[in-house]
């Protein structure tokens, strides 16, 4: 009886084969290839040489730039997104609230060329804000500020980071119950103490999770940076893409090692996010 059952349950997997085959061929095998070849030389000998070569100053700088850019845009995104999300939640007008949330929803998906271009039109050397500040207040943004720089990238990335944080933090903000605030105030706490000692600890998992997801989101971004600053900016994704496109001397080993290190960084972020997600679920009804 038992063997029959086992074959039948194995047969149940057959309809899922196309999907798993797809996942294997398009995700697992290609990524495994990259990781494998990053650890081997052309003669299939195990080696760390590719990683040693990523220790060159230029490539180390690209990692530092990417990590810094991600950390800054993620931190600003968490801060501004949480404040905006909270302000948005307290808006009385339901129609306005719905429209603003829809705006956040759409803006999260904006990126790439159109976004970069919109920022050039707004803050470029003859951009709308640039002209406005110059003509009305006599403030010259240029040449101190440049939209085609890392600072410009921070501003452009915030355009999708901020709304993403609003969407991520909204459920947790809604989970803060009015009774908790009343209880704290009744027991003699000040408004500030309530936020610091009650609300913040409850929100912490969502804030940390939001930071990690925003970090990953910014780290992997390519199209916006490429359009805004061109191939000269030293970011990891730009560098890997240049290696792929053959714009610089082809050294697949270096691209593989950079990609593997990036995958590790992304894995930490995504797994961390999933972990905090489980944590923040506890406070929801």
């Amino acid at each position: 009886m038992r063997p029959v059952r086992r074959t039948r349950s194995a047969l149940l997997w057959i309809p899922l084969l196309p999907f798993f085959l797809f996942g294997l061929l398009m995700e697992v095998v290609p990524l495994a290839t990259v990781v494998y070849s990053s650890l081997h030389d052309s003669g299939a000998h195990l080696t760390l040489a590719n990683y040693q070569r990523t220790m060159s100053p230029v490539i180390r700088a690209s990692f530092a730039n990417s990590l810094k850019l991600s950390a800054v845009t993620a931190a600003l995104g968490v801060l501004l997104g949480t404040l905006s999300g909270y302000a948005l939640m307290n808006v009385r007008n339901a129609l306005f609230r719905g429209a603003a949330t829809a705006l956040a929803d759409v803006a999260t998906n904006f990126g790439g060329a159109p976004l970069a271009f919109a920022f050039i039109v707004t803050l470029g050397s003859t951009g709308f804000i640039t002209l406005l500040l110059l003509k009305l207040f006599g403030i010259a943004l240029y040449p101190t500020f440049r939209i085609y720089s890392v600072t410009g990238l921070v501003l452009a990335y915030l355009y999708f980071q901020l709304p993403l944080m609003i969407l991520l933090v909204q459920p947790s903000l809604r989970g803060l119950r009015q009774e908790w605030k009343e209880a704290a105030l009744n027991l003699g706490a000040s408004e500030g103490q309530y936020w610091l000692r009650v609300a913040l600890p409850i929100l912490t998992p969502s804030l940390v999770g939001g930071f990690l997801l925003l970090f990953a989101n910014s780290y992997g971004a390519y199209a916006t940076a490429w359009t805004l600053t061109g191939p000269d900016i030293n970011l990891v994704t730009i560098r890997i893409a240049a290696l792929v496109r053959g714009e610089v001397q082809l050294e697949p080993g270096i691209a593989d090692a950079m990609a593997t290190l990036s995958l590790l960084i992304m894995a930490v972020c995504v797994l961390g996010y999933l972990g905090t997600n489980r944590f923040s679920q506890r406070w929801k009804r």
Binding site: G112, T122, F128, L132, W226, V244, A255, S262
Partner: protein, 260 residues
């Protein structure tokens, strides 16, 4: 704070829109005059229609194949093999951790040995686009499956003598249609604006709308602004369609609960 948020979100869009209608706007605070000529020039180019068509083609192909692959998989796993669910979710979450640049690199490093015809082909592009949009396709369908009483529906259909295919097409699909629809629309809008994979996998051989737009920003800003506006409007329309489809699912669910 809300004022800041709205300003940050809307100002770049408004500036781009105004820029696309401005005759000259580099000396004064507001455009010196308005014109339609940038729009006419941008839209009348042959490359505009061609790249638009290519983008639609890739997005539609990805959407259709994705629906056909994911829907039966999610249904079968939900109904007959709940054990497979964590494994399926692993495959659908993995793309979140793989930036487009790295996916492109991995595919090229893995399949280049079979020849450029295979790895740099539109078919490979569609498959890669399916990977990055997999999370958007899978989630809404699973949510819809959880909301509908799939087991009872399937048993009822079977006891009335319907085949698997008939059950799937005529009973299950209509009941989870709002999930399929939201997923499909999300896939469509994601792929339509995809730049990275197109740029690295097919490059200049198969230009899509985002590639065309980037090329334009390099040599004609005015016409590029018209194209950027088209791109924004497109993103808005698809997003509104998704919100509509999800709202439909919500109402559907409430209606079903109310009837009980």
């Amino acid at each position: 704070m809300i004022g800041f948020f709205l300003l940050y979100m809307l100002l770049p869009l408004a500036a781009t829109l105004l820029f696309s209608f401005a005759t000259r706007w580099d000396r004064s605070i507001f455009p010196e005059a308005l014109t339609l000529k940038w729009w006419e020039a941008a839209v009348s180019r042959r490359a505009f229609g061609l790249t638009m068509k290519n983008s639609l083609l890739v997005s539609l192909a990805t959407m259709i194949v994705s629906v056909l692959l994911v829907t039966p998989t999610a249904y079968w796993s939900h109904l007959r093999l709940p054990r497979s669910r964590p494994l399926i979710e692993l495959f659908t979450i993995l793309p979140f951790g793989v930036p487009g640049v790295i996916l492109a690199l991995a595919l090229i490093r893995c399949y280049a040995r079979f020849g450029a015809v295979i790895v740099y082909s539109p078919a490979m592009l569609v498959a890669a686009c399916m990977v990055i949009s997999l999370p958007f396709m899978y989630r809404p369908i699973v949510n819809a499956l959880n909301a509908a009483d799939v087991k009872t529906l399937t048993e009822a259909a079977h006891s009335l003598g319907a085949s698997w295919l008939a059950t799937m097409m005529q009973v299950i699909a209509p009941n989870i249609m709002s999930g399929i629809l939201s997923g499909a629309l999300l896939v469509f809008s994601t792929v339509f604006v995809e730049f990275t994979l197109v740029n690295l996998l097919v490059g200049a051989r198969f230009k899509t709308f985002p590639i065309y737009l980037v090329e334009f920003t390099r040599f004609d800003g005015r016409q590029a602004s018209a194209l950027a506006v088209i791109s924004f409007v497109f993103a808005w329309l698809t997003s509104l369609a998704v919100i509509w489809a999800m709202g439909r699912a919500e109402r559907h669910r409430e209606g079903a609960l109310g009837a009980r």
